[in-house]
Symmetry: C2
Subunit: 236 residues, 2 copies
Amino acid sequence: MAGERTGGRVATREVVLASVRLFTEDGFDATTMEGIAAATGVSRRSLFRRFGSKEDILFAEHDELFSTVVRYLDASPDDPLSSVFAAARLVLQGYLGDPEITVPRYRLVRAHPRLRDREVAMTARYQAAFSRYLADRQDGGGEERSLAAGVAAASLISAHNHVLRGWLRSPEQDRREVWASFDAAMEFVRRAAEPVLRPADRPSRDRVLVAVYPGDLGRDELIRRVTAAVEESEGA
Amino acid sequence: MAGERTGGRVATREVVLASVRLFTEDGFDATTMEGIAAATGVSRRSLFRRFGSKEDILFAEHDELFSTVVRYLDASPDDPLSSVFAAARLVLQGYLGDPEITVPRYRLVRAHPRLRDREVAMTARYQAAFSRYLADRQDGGGEERSLAAGVAAASLISAHNHVLRGWLRSPEQDRREVWASFDAAMEFVRRAAEPVLRPADRPSRDRVLVAVYPGDLGRDELIRRVTAAVEESEGA
DNA sequence: CTTTCTGTGGCATCCAGTGCCAGAATAGGG
DNA sequence: CCCTATTCTGGCACTGGATGCCACAGAAAG
């Protein structure tokens, strides 16, 4: 039907759009690969060859986006933290720019535990990529380095998904609001991640002091303790 | 074989152990449900009924652990952040306490992408549970509350998994080392999460001071700046 | 002993996913 | 232009996970 036999190969996007329509109309499980084959004009066997599995059809565009983001990251020589923030922005942009697929997919994912797991696996891949990227371009103590990179990546992905879900739940909202909350979320993460992540290429000139103290300590005693702590660390 | 027909129902743990053995010996894909049925004495049909799917056999113990952790969390009236740290400790304890299953499962998961996704989905459930728990018991600005809870949960899970993977890679290492690195990781997360998460029921008595300063600033000037900053914040 | 309820096993069926092979489309070399 | 090599595609058969249906066993309740 949708795939008139004009000789040329049916575009991936065509197949994905038709499949998404079938999934939302009939349900994911009720939609068979044979049905998709009939609707798109691509044979059952070729669908498996090109996409791998039924789920993979739904996430084909997302896989492409992931590849794009990874390539972007590999080509980013800047300040690592900023690069990762920019990469997250790229991901959100990928979602916002393709609501025809991403929005119905979100509805399907919400309803279907199996698809939800698949979606989670995607974000885990982003998280792993970001974590590796950060761990590779940063100095600091060997063990702590990987821990800090992992935590920073996890925070970033979590904040990104927070904003993303907000948009997916009501995609008709103003894009500027979405981007504003994205910037706010990134700023929020930056506050938490920046103290523990220092770039490798730009050797740390800054130092970090963290003090936790009772609120009723009194500033004189606080100053005394801070002074002692700083002198001790500087002496080493 | 393993499941002598003594009348009683074959224990879940028996089935899981036998299945794990088959998975590691023959490979996950090569092991059929019929083979598991033959090895355990439980019929194929009953295996599907009791476990849901082949993957679910491998993660049955883990599902139980998850339920335990969630119940523990629901019954925790303490300081939310501490409760969540304790819950993470419970998860690690669950892994360490059952190496017969968790270690071979880790090897299987590493080798098999599909199982890896399943594992990731498990940790995502923990993260979601922790995030909800934190979001429900904390004050602060409405939008920022859920964001902060999500980021804190993500950081915590990431740090936990960092330690967990370290042990899974070499399970023969001293348990005290594992727990020490766990404590260190939790402390690391606490430093990042505590500034942005304050419990609702027990208003924060402790305060946190974070200062970033040039390494060549000199301690006198540092003390002066810290003093000024503290006085300013206390005055407000 | 009969009834009811729950768990179990056997059977048939559906369908995702894969290996195999034949044919079409495309590219390249003469 | 034709012939050939390569690649992509589609049809076919088959494995195996997963589900619905039904019959039966055992335990609890009457």
